[in-house]
Structures are given as structure tokens and as C-alpha cells.
């Protein structure tokens, strides 16, 4: 499964994808797919530019991987590193492709599908196969990125809120 140093390297790459999303005014979530110790796919949130609420980092990466010849059956020996716990939709999609394992940074209290809102990753009932997931790697860096995004005004939202008074809180994070 790779040692800790390797895991940190892959999550670092996922964080760089999240940074790219942030620079593009997208919700800063990024991911990489890893097989045999090498990155085989990357994605970051593209919901605003696509005007499609389902273009999350994981689905963007999976679509590109399959379009460029990655075989569905190879997901069974592929791990996902994603900065934020996959949402219910993505957690279900990862079952459908048969991912081997998921490592995420911070929990997703609003939409999380690896236990925070629903246990999609481990539940025997939904389509596809359950998979192990584990959170916490570079958690604070992932949270900081989200906070930076949410103190900024989201001009694409139906009713953008004025956020001039908002401050970026970092005291509780270990960075």
C-alpha cells in the first residue's frame, strides 16, 4: 500500500490539484489516483466552469482516465488520494468502478459518503463493491484551503453573499 512518506507525497499532489481549483475559483478539492506507486489520474473540482454540480474532482479524474485508455478493471488495484472525504455521489461512483482504497484529508460534514453523512463506502447494499477508507492525512491543509475559498465571495451562487467582514481563521489548525 506504500509507506507513510509515499502517502504524504500523493496527498501533496492532491493538494496541488485543490490549489489549482482554488486559483480557478472552484471549490478547492483535488485528487490523484495511484496504481503501482505511480499517479495514473488527476482531477479537481470543475462544477462552476461546467455549470454542472456533479463535476467533482473524483468524477472528473475517472472520466479522463477512462477516455485515455485506463481499464475499468484496473481500478481494483488503484488507490484514491483526495483532499476532502468523497461526497455521497462520489463515494457511490467509487463503488461502481471498484476502487481498492480511499485516503482522504478532512471529513466532509455536509455531504460525506465515507461515514460523515452516510456510510456509502462500507454499506453492503448499494451497487458496486464496498472499499476501505481512511481520513486525516494533511487534514488541516485541506480545511485551510476550503476556508480560504468560503471567505471569498462566490459570484456564481444564485444569491452571492457579501463576505467582506469574514476573517480567515487558522488558530485551530496545525500547518
Amino acid at each position: 500500500m506504500g509507506d507513510e512518506e509515499e502517502q504524504r507525497r500523493f496527498m501533496g499532489e492532491a493538494l496541488r490539484m485543490a490549489e489549482e481549483a482554488y486559483e480557478a475559483a472552484e471549490v478547492p478539492v483535488g485528487c490523484v489516483f495511484v496504481r503501482d506507486g505511480a499517479v495514473v489520474g488527476r482531477g479537481r473540482n470543475e462544477t462552476n466552469v461546467a455549470k454542472n454540480g456533479t463535476r467533482h474532482a473524483e468524477l472528473v479524474a475517472i472520466d479522463r482516465m477512462l477516455e485515455s485508455g485506463f481499464r475499468v478493471e484496473d481500478f481494483g488495484t488503484t488507490q484514491l488520494y483526495v483532499t476532502v472525504e468523497p461526497c455521497v455521489m462520489c463515494a457511490a461512483a467509487l463503488r461502481l468502478v471498484g476502487i481498492e482504497r480511499v485516503v482522504y484529508g478532512c471529513a466532509n460534514d455536509r455531504f460525506g459518503g465515507c461515514g460523515s453523512v452516510l456510510p456509502v463506502s462500507s454499506d453492503p447494499v448499494p451497487d458496486g463493491a464496498p472499499y476501505p477508507s481512511e481520513g486525516g492525512l494533511f487534514r488541516d491543509q485541506a480545511i485551510l484551503m476550503l476556508r480560504k475559498f468560503y471567505v471569498r465571495e462566490n459570484a456564481v451562487a444564485p444569491q452571492p453573499r457579501k463576505k467582506a467582514a469574514r476573517e480567515l481563521k487558522t488558530q485551530d489548525l496545525q500547518l
Binding site: 462544477t47 466552469v49 461546467a50 455549470k51 454542472n52 454540480g53 456533479t54 463535476r55 468524477l59 475517472i62 472520466d63 477512462l66 477516455e67 475499468v72 461526497c87 455521497v88 455521489m89 462520489c90 457511490a92 461512483a93 461502481l96 468502478v97 455536509r110 455531504f111 459518503g113 453523512v117 452516510l118 456509502v120 447494499v125 448499494p126 451497487d127 444564485p158
Partner: protein, 288 residues
């Protein structure tokens, strides 16, 4: 599902929301047995000296036990999770209530939203019946019925055209104001080799592509906000959550599935999620 409305050849029934499917859960409260004459005085004391009821406002404060001369009342003092027994004893010790006969009783944790819940809840402790005002029986006007009937027929056709491998499904997105279908898609997992290309995901993508290509000033909307989705079968967990992310208004589906996002998780009405939609299960008439 009791409330049905006929739309052409289909019977359309609202799928219960999460709250209506809630099974009985209880929590412990301290209760005291009193006489009818003591009732108003003790309620005054409870109001001043003990923590207010938190989250169980649907529970009646007093339960009558027995009839006639033998009748007694049981009154809720406070929730066990808000005050320990020793603290409770300390607060009543130096009052006229020091000799109260205190017990622990169970009360339902959530309100009763359906008649069935009401009957089961009140067998435990008396509660108020709170049918949700937003959940009226569906009423569809004549033009709505024609629109829904046509959209359901369309998704059935899309499904039939989809290759017959048992996975094919058809989905359409409709505008409830204009009462017309604005996008449609069939399952594309086989032809694309991508197991995520379910009909729902494809249909949402069609809407997004159109929106991305829209000139400024042309009519359009944010994601699929307020739109109707028609599906030949119940969306899976991925697709049901995609509909939440897309902010749809209503979902109509034909074939239910135990592993689906509605049947298994009530994704249309999960209280933790930031968007909810109304969901209807539709059944073709026997002669359809």
C-alpha cells in the same frame, strides 16, 4: 404510500420522506406520580426549577393513568440527559415536592408525522400528532397530468431502446412551468465503457452543456434548480445524490430498487443534506 393521483396511464404516489419512515426511538425522562389537584402547582415549579424540554416538544407533559377515583397523573419533570438524578433530588429536597414518587419513563424522541407513527408513539407516551403541512396529497391539474404521462412514456421508450442488457434506463428532465421535456438521455455505460454514464448523469450533463453554451440574456437557470426529473427506474445512490447537487424540484420514477438512493437512504429528504426534493413513485396502469 397511500396517496395516489392518476396521470394518464400512470398512478403517481409520493414516496415518504425520511421523517415519515422514522421508526420509534425513545429517550428517558424523570416522571412523578401526582394527583390532579397538584398538577398546576407542580408544573409551575418544574418551569422555574428544572431544565426545559429540549427537542421533545411534541411530547405531552402529563399522562393520565387509570379512571375515576383511582385516576392519577404522571408528569414529566425533565429529561435524564439534562439532569442527573442526584441533581434532581438536590433541587426538590428543600421544597414541598421533597417526597415525590420519582420514576424513569420512556418518551418518543421524534414527532409523529403519520397516523401510523402516531398510534405507535402514543402507546409509549402521549404525543401531539404533527402531519407535515408541506406533504399534502399530490394534486395534478389536467395539463400537469398530460405532461407527466408524456414524460414517463418517453423515459420508458428510451429505456426500451437502450439495448436490453437489463441495465438500460431512460431519464428526462422537464420544466414544470412550461410543462415540457427539455433534455433526455439513455444509459450509456455499455457504449462508452464508462460505468458512471448512467442516464441521470448523462441527462444532467446535457443540461449543463446547454447552459454553458447559453448567450447572456437568453433564458436559463442555475444547475437544474426546480426542474423535474423523470426516470424509468429508481436512481442509484450516485445518481440520487447527483440530483441533490443539481437542486432539482421533483423526481418521478417507475421501477423501484431496494439498493436505490431513495429506497435505501431517502436521499431526497435527508435532514443533513442541504437540498431536498419531492419524490414520486409511478406505476403504469394494468391496461397501459
Amino acid at each position: 404510500m397511500a396517496e395516489g393521483a392518476r396521470c394518464g396511464r400512470y398512478l403517481v404516489e409520493r414516496v415518504p420522506i425520511e421523517e415519515e419512515r422514522q421508526s420509534l426511538e425513545t429517550e428517558d425522562v424523570f416522571t412523578a406520580r401526582i394527583t390532579a389537584q397538584q398538577a398546576s402547582r407542580i408544573l409551575g415549579f418544574v418551569g422555574k426549577a428544572l431544565p426545559r424540554l429540549d427537542g421533545i416538544e411534541h411530547v405531552k407533559r402529563v399522562r393520565r393513568e387509570g379512571h375515576g377515583a383511582a385516576a392519577s397523573l404522571q408528569v414529566i419533570l425533565c429529561q435524564c440527559r439534562l439532569l442527573e438524578r442526584a441533581q434532581l433530588d438536590a433541587r426538590i429536597q428543600s421544597t414541598e415536592w421533597a417526597d415525590l414518587d420519582i420514576a424513569v419513563s420512556k418518551v418518543p424522541t421524534t414527532p409523529a408525522y403519520t397516523k401510523d407513527q402516531f398510534d405507535r408513539w402514543r402507546a409509549v407516551w402521549p404525543v401531539a400528532y404533527r402531519p407535515l403541512a408541506k406533504l399534502k396529497k399530490p394534486e395534478f391539474g389536467e395539463r400537469d397530468q398530460e405532461y407527466i404521462d408524456a414524460a414517463l412514456r418517453l423515459v420508458q421508450q428510451l429505456c426500451d431502446q437502450g439495448g436490453g442488457d437489463g441495465r438500460a434506463a431512460g431519464v428526462a428532465i422537464g420544466d414544470p412551468q412550461a410543462r415540457r421535456v427539455v433534455a433526455q438521455a439513455a444509459d450509456a455505460t455499455s457504449e462508452s465503457g464508462n460505468p458512471l454514464r448512467h442516464a441521470t448523469m448523462c441527462c444532467i450533463a446535457h443540461m449543463a452543456d446547454r447552459e454553458a453554451g447559453r448567450e447572456a440574456g437568453e433564458p436559463g437557470g442555475h444547475l437544474c434548480e426546480g426542474l423535474d426529473v423523470f426516470a424509468s427506474r429508481e436512481p442509484c445512490v450516485m445518481c440520487a445524490m447527483a440530483l441533490v447537487h443539481s437542486r432539482i424540484g421533483r423526481l418521478f420514477f417507475l421501477e423501484p430498487r431496494d439498493s436505490g438512493g431513495i429506497s435505501h437512504y431517502s436521499i431526497h429528504s435527508r435532514q443533513q443534506l442541504n437540498h431536498h426534493f419531492t419524490c414520486f413513485r409511478c406505476v403504469g396502469a394494468a391496461d397501459g
